[in-house]
Subunit: 152 residues, 4 copies
Amino acid sequence: MPSRHAPAYIAVVGPGDSATAAALATAEQVGALLAQAGAVLVCGGLGGVMEAACRGASEAGGTTLGILPGSDRAAANRWVTIVVATGLGELRNGLVVRSADAVIAAAGEYGTLSEIALALKAGKPVLGLGTWDIRGVREAADPAEAVALALG
Amino acid sequence: MPSRHAPAYIAVVGPGDSATAAALATAEQVGALLAQAGAVLVCGGLGGVMEAACRGASEAGGTTLGILPGSDRAAANRWVTIVVATGLGELRNGLVVRSADAVIAAAGEYGTLSEIALALKAGKPVLGLGTWDIRGVREAADPAEAVALALG
Amino acid sequence: MPSRHAPAYIAVVGPGDSATAAALATAEQVGALLAQAGAVLVCGGLGGVMEAACRGASEAGGTTLGILPGSDRAAANRWVTIVVATGLGELRNGLVVRSADAVIAAAGEYGTLSEIALALKAGKPVLGLGTWDIRGVREAADPAEAVALALG
Amino acid sequence: MPSRHAPAYIAVVGPGDSATAAALATAEQVGALLAQAGAVLVCGGLGGVMEAACRGASEAGGTTLGILPGSDRAAANRWVTIVVATGLGELRNGLVVRSADAVIAAAGEYGTLSEIALALKAGKPVLGLGTWDIRGVREAADPAEAVALALG
């Protein structure tokens, strides 16, 4: 557990290029709300939901951590504050989950599903915004509720 | 792709200690059938479905590869031929999937779900035997069908 | 390669608890100089040389990235800006190296040697300040020279 | 610790394509001796010293485990019994070390040095045959001595 004054780290996960406009808008709101709450936003560092969430956080003055599958930092979206270029491929999904206290999933494809599963396996809260219907995922009504629940 | 004469590597994934007797019986049959087909059985190396599958394979003269979450080889079940003690925790699930040409899931909890998701993300066939109902998983009628489909 | 305006990421590696006072003073200077140059300081996130470097960077207004071996963020030293809790054990050394454009080694034990070796294997510059005498490591006269060479 | 009757796992590490004829001959002898002693030979699965050691072990009836940097099993040399295709790049060196009780280094470049360092960090015996001159590496007179010391 982080100390009382340490920031929360919250992962925002969801599809990359295949994200819908609605998912992007949701992710951007989530990012902004996390930044306003002083949380560090953790994500996979690429496009789609990851980029939208980082943009929202960044424009609200927040800090974002992008954990990339490849080994080239330049692949990170421009709103990532700190880049970790892992070279681990999809195994980096596990590091996104490990780095976070809770996970917010906005929509989602198979990579997202792996992150949801790993988070639930680790006993971390998973909040859903139109994502996979998996036992253990708590579907939130909107970004504000997802962020409030993630920050516990 | 392995060469024409190389053995297939098929992962068998499913719950550990929480496996039901039915899941264990299914896994053992899958293991035996994989061994009879000359495939290498890949799994997470621990108990439950992993152990039952390895026992089935081993008793049929097959070879099993157990990829453990911890760093102590002694944690492997006794039917594992070759142990890789990764010390990676649940990230080893990704290595189970990477090592395999296809995945057969017998029942399953969250760790299993992460393996299913990673396999589908990588475009590998996933055959289900009473496992998570996820788009992309092909539910098989019985172990024989699952093994036949996995071996393609 | 990062874009022209992206910050450089420079790893500072060296012993933890066994660091000498001289190594700590060196590391702190390296950290301060990296921060003044606008670089992100990457390290293993724990004590000794890692902590001294982070303190130097932090007090000079810089950003530090700590990539921990364990899965508990609270293990990071207090001068780490962003923590990645990997749970990978010593394999996280490889992520420290991958995340960096160059490595500065201040003194060093076996973990440090593994980072030097992985950096040289990847073709990244390694600058030494009283560290292992390994072909390929460029020994620097002082922290200023090490930082100048690392920033190339 | 493996149980009393479990086989020892011994890693053989050294250069790939750049290996000299002498290093290859040494590695092949090491492999044969390990097989005769009933040990499982662990290596990085590629060419050079890795291949020579596997050939020696295989021709003596032994079992070899090749832990590849890439994600394609077909990259393994033909003497590997069981392949783990990690997709982790050089981080797989850490898995070679973790999978082994002791390490024998025949010659060696930077990748080898990283394996030596990680093994020493983990407190595992490292036997050298013309490899890096690092404190903690015990240089052996010949393959027979290296294998005897590795098997403890």
